[in-house]
């Protein structure tokens, strides 16, 4: 590596005629911006419009970017209700607690379908929810204008988010890179009572209750009162939402690495 340099050793500019140099620089900038100032007259010109961006780049000589600058923007969410599996992961991963799962029509009456409703008064657009979404149905779009005079209008219902989805705005194509060896749902067999709660509430229905042999009771020993079934998790279908863990009455499910 080269030696450290001293900034004072090569100062860029020296004053010429007191203030002639800065005034010349300002005049040069004036001449440049007479043709095209850098201002983007916002409501009429939009940087997300690629054609405008290209024209601007040519006109101003500034690298405003071509094409890709805007598409990854994290703006208002879009929700595809049809593919939502009500796994709650978006609501769980929200640091601002601005996502509430509300019922939407559809689903069987016993397990109503719940989709995220987002309060944009609280949302910080961190994108954790869309990263978390296992089905890719909650994404972020390039839409960013949502000023409204009413606070209640900042709360976007699932239907409204679905409208945004249907408007075919550019969606944020970036997905979180997922690790290979994800933790899986493990079972602590002695604690399980076979109650079926996990299998019933699993949004992806990847938990199957399998019969296990009822052990022979030794003399003097009392068998636990339980249903002789045990959950088996299909790891490839599992989205790791943890619903089973939270509904388990006996706390017998936990995260772990499958051997």
């Amino acid at each position: 590596m080269s030696s450290e340099i001293t900034a004072k050793e090569k100062p860029g500019e020296h004053p010429v005629l007191w203030v002639a140099r800065p005034m010349a620089t300002a005049a040069r900038q004036f001449a440049k911006s007479l043709f095209r100032p850098s201002t983007i007259v916002y409501p009429y010109e939009r940087l997300e419009d690629p054609e405008f961006r290209d024209r601007l780049e040519v006109a101003s000589g500034k690298p405003f970017g071509v094409g890709h600058v805007w598409d990854n923007y994290r703006g208002v969410h879009a929700l595809n209700i049809a593919t939502c599996i009500s796994c709650n992961l978006c609501a769980f991963s929200c640091p601002d607690v601005c996502i509430e799962m509300v019922s939407v029509p559809g689903g069987d009456p016993k397990h109503p379908k719940k989709c995220p409703q987002i309060d944009y008064g609280k949302c910080s657009y961190c994108g954790f929810c869309s990263d978390a979404c296992p089905e890719g149905c909650l994404t972020m779009t390039t839409r960013y204008e949502l000023s409204t005079p009413k606070r209640s209008e900042m709360v976007y219902s699932p239907e409204k988010l679905h409208e945004i989805f249907r408007s075919k705005l550019p969606m944020n194509p970036i997905r979180l890179a997922r690790p290979e060896n994800e933790d899986a749902i493990l079972l602590d067999p002695p604690l399980c009572i076979g109650c079926n709660a996990c299998s019933r509430d699993c949004p992806t229905q990847c938990i199957t209750m399998l019969d296990i042999p009822k052990p022979e009771a030794k003399p003097g020993e009392k068998l636990p009162r339980r249903i002789w079934k045990e959950p088996v998790v299909n790891d490839s279908d599992c989205v790791r939402c943890g619903t089973c863990i939270s509904v388990c009455p006996k706390e017998c499910l936990f995260w772990g690495t499958r051997k």
Partner: protein, 381 residues
């Protein structure tokens, strides 16, 4: 006029943030100053104890709102040490790119605010205009212009979009002549030298005594840059020089920051070339599932999940645009860090205010404080 105290802040054009500088003046001469910080204290360290490791990143962007990615980097290094996770090499390069772009962005923001303090109007907008291009780049790969939330424990959120490196090179090519323009507007002006030479002198020994770091320390002639002295990330693989100036005055700080931006451009050219040549994963393979963005809910009753995590502590110190920032993360095996502690360089730099302000004029306070590069967000945390 007899002596009097005046409050410069918390709402005052000089402060650039929410802090108060109490100044005792006699006419136009400063006799004593008393910096008061804490107006922007949001308890970020305490909130972090209640957040998942990845969620702390959202707080880091708000800790320093002009150098969010640098603070993300700082926290991530400490958290990864605490959790014993090794990021892939490409993720490290991406983080270095983030930090260097952030350094340029932060220094441009400093430049804009500083020239406004000495009364220059148009360079303020030039600085903001050119910073905007850096923000455009951030937007193109992190998705946001200010609160990036880009880094994750074990890597970064996503890889670069196609065509990014060409765009980055274009921006770097655009920036270099702009730095020359800035120099013409400031160093080329006699009035600038009249205002800033031999002003706010803080000697090297005073810097070290008060814990002043960063460009202020380097402007006093001390060659200390953590990227060189204690290379973190992969800074030992890139070629750059430490910007040092002598004089320890406002002009020297200006020179150091300008040179740092040029060096950042130099680093970025190497990093961007490397990124072009070496595609690869950006997320570590050994990250447990609960380290990803979705994490397991804590259950209806709020009990923690029965999961034994590896314990550990992590310490990191990086050369943030304002100085040397440090982070300490204690992992006691839960989902959340047990304790997070940050060391803000701005806090130390501001605390030494009495040393470099007393004896100058009232009109000298804005340039001197401007040359300190105050970011109250990280100072108060």
């Amino acid at each position: 006029m007899s002596e009097m105290w005046i409050n410069m802040g918390p709402q005052h054009p000089m402060t650039h943030g929410l802090w108060n500088l109490r100044v005792r003046i006699d006419g136009e001469t400063v006799l004593d100053v008393d910096p008061e910080m804490g107006y922007l204290h949001r308890g970020i360290e305490k909130i972090s104890e209640d957040r998942h490791y990845n969620e702390v990143i959202t707080l880091m962007d708000r800790t320093c709102y002009v150098a969010g990615l640098a603070w993300e980097h700082l926290y991530i290094i400490a958290a990864e040490k605490a959790l014993r996770i090794q990021p892939p090499e490409r993720a490290d390069y991406l983080r270095m790119m983030c930090e260097e772009f952030q350094r340029i962005g932060s220094h441009l923001m400093w430049y804009a605010a500083f020239v406004q303090d000495i009364g220059l109007m148009s360079p303020f907008l030039y600085g903001m205009r050119d910073r905007d291009l850096v923000l455009d780049l951030f937007q193109s790969y992190t998705g946001a212009r200010m609160t990036y939330e880009y880094m994750r424990v074990g890597g970064v959120r996503n890889d670069l979009p196609p065509g990014f490196t060409d765009q980055a090179r274009k921006v770097l090519d655009w920036l270099i002549p702009r730095f020359k323009e800035y120099d013409q507007l400031c160093l080329g002006s006699d009035i600038f030298h009249k205002r800033c030479d031999h002003l706010g002198v803080l000697s090297a020994s005073d810097c070290i005594r008060h814990g002043v770091t960063g460009p202020m320390l380097r402007s006093a002639g001390v060659k200390r840059d953590l990227r060189k002295n204690r290379p973190y990330s992969l800074y030992k693989d890139v070629d750059f020089d430490v910007a040092v100036a002598d004089g320890a005055d406002v002009t020297a700080r200006y020179l150091v920051r300008m040179e740092e931006m040029r060096q950042s451009v130099r680093i970025l050219r190497q990093v961007v070339d490397w990124l072009d040549a070496h595609p690869g994963p950006v997320m570590a393979e050994t990250v447990p599932r609960w380290m990803g963005a979705p994490y397991a809910p804590v259950g209806r009753e709020g009990y923690l999940l029965k999961r034994q995590y590896p314990k550990g502590v992590g310490f990191s110190s990086i050369e943030e645009p304002h100085g040397e920032a440090q982070a300490y993360v204690v992992n006691e095996g839960g989902e959340h860090p047990y304790r997070v502690k940050f060391r803000s360089p701005v806090f130390a730099n501001l605390s030494a205010a009495r040393t470099y302000l007393v004896g100058y004029h009232v009109a000298d306070i804005p340039p001197i404080m401007g040359s300190v590069d105050v970011c109250v967000g990280e100072c108060d945390r």
